[in-house]
């Protein structure tokens, strides 16, 4: 496998001797790999967005070589695992040094949102973040005001630095990495901070960002224990993640990384079931691109019904178990 790839060391003090004209190519910054070394769904969607930018070639920047890479990637730059956002930002700076890319693109996740602005400072660029549509190589659409308005923006920098909303772009399929040109970057360590520990909860739970179905609970669930009703429904539905409104997270009923909304995760599954969620502007912002929306709430005037395809006025403590029971396995 590795014998068909070339490995060259590039450091920030030597000029890259890559054969491709980097001025018109696109650099895709990958999210951290999963524990089994696979690329994230967000990265796959980012490659799709990158392929719409009209560059000559697509280069993937990643911490270490994954088992498979997205279709269409012609070269891979590897910078080494274990660094924090300051280190990853430096890796992009090293990659872009000498010959600037036409576009640098990252997913608009917490990871991407933390590095893109720092990269902007290092490269003196003004980024366009959370892009939901690529109109042309220099014109992009991004949401503002919790998605109640969309802004069509034209970037004037020679290198366009972007983050893209993964739910707005289909995932580019992954293929075997053989044949891709792989180069290692020599990136200086960042001395100022260090990683201490992480807490990622239940690794078995379905990922909110990529599930085809989501059931979300609001403050009407009354306690974190009651979320088990939603867990059971999600298990019965299959490929279903459990999300929460900001109110539920605020009240300590659900973990922060399950919050759906303007300042949480933006999701767009095939099916979104909002249980006991009133539908504040900020929550709608995070889920209204879902294909089918169901709302279960005792208040028929709740704003959630304004985006629901199907609304049911019912007590969730009866309705949810009834739905779980009646669904086919």
């Amino acid at each position: 496998m590795l014998s068909r790839t070339t490995r060259t060391l590039i450091s920030s003090s030597t000029t890259a001797t890559s054969a491709c004209r980097r001025w018109a190519s696109t650099l895709v910054v990958s999210e951290p790999l999963s524990k089994d070394g696979t690329l994230s769904a967000g990265t796959q969607s980012t490659v799709t967005a990158a392929s719409q930018l009209g560059g000559d070639s697509l280069t993937l920047l990643v911490e270490e070589m994954p088992s498979q890479i997205p279709e269409g990637i012609s070269n891979v730059l590897v910078y080494g695992k274990g660094g924090l956002s300051e280190y990853v930002s430096s890796a992009v700076q090293v990659a872009a040094e000498g010959s600037p890319y036409g576009h640098i693109v990252a997913p608009a996740s917490k990871f991407g949102s933390t590095i893109v602005p720092r990269i902007a400072a290092l490269l003196s660029l003004s980024p366009v973040t959370d892009v939901i549509e690529i109109v042309s190589p220099d014109t992009f659409v991004r949401p503002i005001y919790a998605g109640n308005a969309l802004a069509k923006v034209q970037a004037s920098d020679t290198t366009k630095l972007l983050s893209v909303r993964p739910t707005s772009f289909d995932k580019t399929p992954l293929v075997d990495a053989a044949g891709a040109d792989v180069q290692e970057l020599d990136v200086p360590a960042f001395a100022g901070s260090e990683f201490v520990s992480e807490s990622t909860g239940n690794a078995d739970k379905v990922d909110l960002g990529s599930a085809s179905r989501i059931v979300s609970g609001g403050r009407a669930l009354k306690s974190g224990d009651n979320f088990v009703l939603l867990d059971e429904l999600a298990t019965k539905l299959g490929d279903c993640a459990v999300g929460a409104s900001r109110a539920a997270v605020d009240a300590g009923m659900a973990p922060n990384d399950t919050q759906v909304g303007q300042t949480g995760k933006v999701v767009a599954p095939d099916l979104y079931i909002a249980v006991g969620i009133s539908g504040a502007i900020q929550h709608l912002s995070g889920m209204r691109d879902s294909k089918t929306i169901v709302a279960i709430n005792t208040d028929p005037d709740a704003p959630i019904f304004s985006v629901a395809d199907y609304g049911l006025k019912a007590d969730l403590f009866e309705a949810v178990p009834e739905l779980t029971g009646k669904l086919k396995t």
Partner: protein, 254 residues
Amino acid sequence: MKILVGVKRVVDYAVKVRVQNNTVDLKNIKMSLNPFCEIAIEEAVRLKEQKVADEVVAMTIGPKQATETLRTALAMGADRAIHITTDLRTDYMELQPFAVSQIFQKIVEEENSDLVLLGKQGIDSDCGQTGPMLAGLLGWPQVTFAANIETDGKSMTVERETDSGTETIKISQLPAVVTCDLRLNEPRYATLPNIMKAKKKKVDTRAAEDMGIDLAPRNQVLEVYEPPPRKEGIMVENMDELIDKLKNEAGVIA
């Protein structure tokens, strides 16, 4: 430890904005302190109460009405404030993060700040860029989405939200830039005595245009429009009807 806290005057979170004449109409709209900036001020004031910080300086960039935002920060416990005045729109339309972070950089260097606390994003522009961008300009450590901060004024341990849970980062030596997320704290209400006291606290005013920074947006907003509306939905009578619709009409379940 000197803390600089950025606070932004934004459209109140409960207001649903209207798009009109190719822009968001802000006439007579209720404006408030950005919720995440409020959390940042609260954290700074707590650090002062713990005697870890000596001084909390609140800073805003905005029109003359933004003084109200500073007064709220002062009433919550900030010691003094800096008002960088501009009539440019600060909701992404005109003044953008690239210029904003340069303004902050200049003030940080003048003030010799040890810690910059910012909200994780403004709820108008939804950019979330100023924090890491400022850290990059300064070459400082950065932590975004802070959910818990512990510091003795020299080093700092931060628990932050990540895409899959949380992680803990240790900043070995301040200064640093930290952006604040929802779980960090619950901001206090300013009491009436503190609101009165705030009126006597110092606010330095300076024009953004006089700072020698190019304020023009590098990203031109060509058009502002509303997202396409969803097709109107229906209310179902009972669970059986819902299941039937999901299966036979929407085709999302077996």
